[in-house]
């Protein structure tokens, strides 16, 4: 996993924008209509989800090699 994905659940409204713009199908919505990380391994930390999330609910940070 190249990245750390943080989700502020209280903010997420499940609009699906992050899901739609993720080039690697990392994200999905659950039944309660909130986003979750379905396939974290595939994340390339492009940040498209964070960029367009209208609710500032999802954040992607590059994992810093320790």
């Amino acid at each position: 996993m190249k990245s750390e994905i943080t989700i502020k659940m209280a903010r997420c409204k499940g609009c699906g924008i992050c899901v739609a713009f993720c080039p690697k199908q990392v994200l999905a919505l659950d039944e309660l209509g909130k986003v979750h990380v379905k396939n974290g391994e595939a994340c390339i930390a492009c940040g498209q989800c964070e960029l367009r999330c209208p609710d500032y609910a999802i954040f992607v940070d590059k994992k810093v090699a320790k």
Binding site: E4, T6, A10, R11, K13, G14, C15, G16, I17, V19, A20, F21, G33, L51, R52, C53, P54, D55, Y56, A57, F59, D61
Partner: protein, 273 residues
Amino acid sequence: MERSYEKYFRQNRLPHLWCPGCGNGIAMKAIVQAIEKKGLSQDNTVIVSGIGCSSRASGYMDFDTLHTAHGRAIPFATGIKLANPELNVIVITGDGDCTAIGGNHFIHGCRRNIDLTVVLFNNNIYGMTGGQASPMTPLGKKATTAPYGSIDRTFDAARLAEAAGATYVARSTAYHVQHLTDMIVQGLDNQGFSFIEAMVQCPTAYGRKNKMGSAADMMKDMQESAVMKAAWDKLAADKKEHKFPIGVLYKEDGLDYATAYEAVIETAGGKNK
């Protein structure tokens, strides 16, 4: 993962009340990021808005903020700027707020070249009141007050701003969020009336009624329809249909109103108070 722009929000008022997928949140973030880029102080920046979904933004932003009456943000903002030219004054408005009921104030703000940065969240509809047509609802689209499809021709707000005297005019979209931020930064750079039209999706009151799919679908439409100004200018006329230019559309040098007023005070023999 704390983002530095979060400090510009009133955390206790988030999550905001906009619908799932509403583009207003994206445009609001673009504004605070522009403010951050410009390094404007939170203490001497004022956010002024009218009434509408978009105009709710002022309540979420941690500055001195003013939620005025429908259509009247620009006169209030003008008063603030003239009373205290040290303040950075940013106006957030909607397509109805700015170009319908507020249309006169909009063109007169442009004419005076008062130093405001006006960001119009254009969702092509009256969101707040549930989906009536605005002066920027495209021809043929449906709205609750245009049940048979709109026959009212639309404003090109950017063109109007330019003709009225604005000295900086730009457009971008919620899809092009970084570009939008940049357009706002340049607007803040301009000492004079700066107008930025931010196209935003309203999946609730506009998208649903017009079968435009999800919020993401509406953003993909923006991606497809928006053409950078330079490319636009070269585009053949027949290729322009259903497309629109984004970028800096107009720019000129011009004395802003508050600065021009200094000369009046000087002539009158007064000192700035």
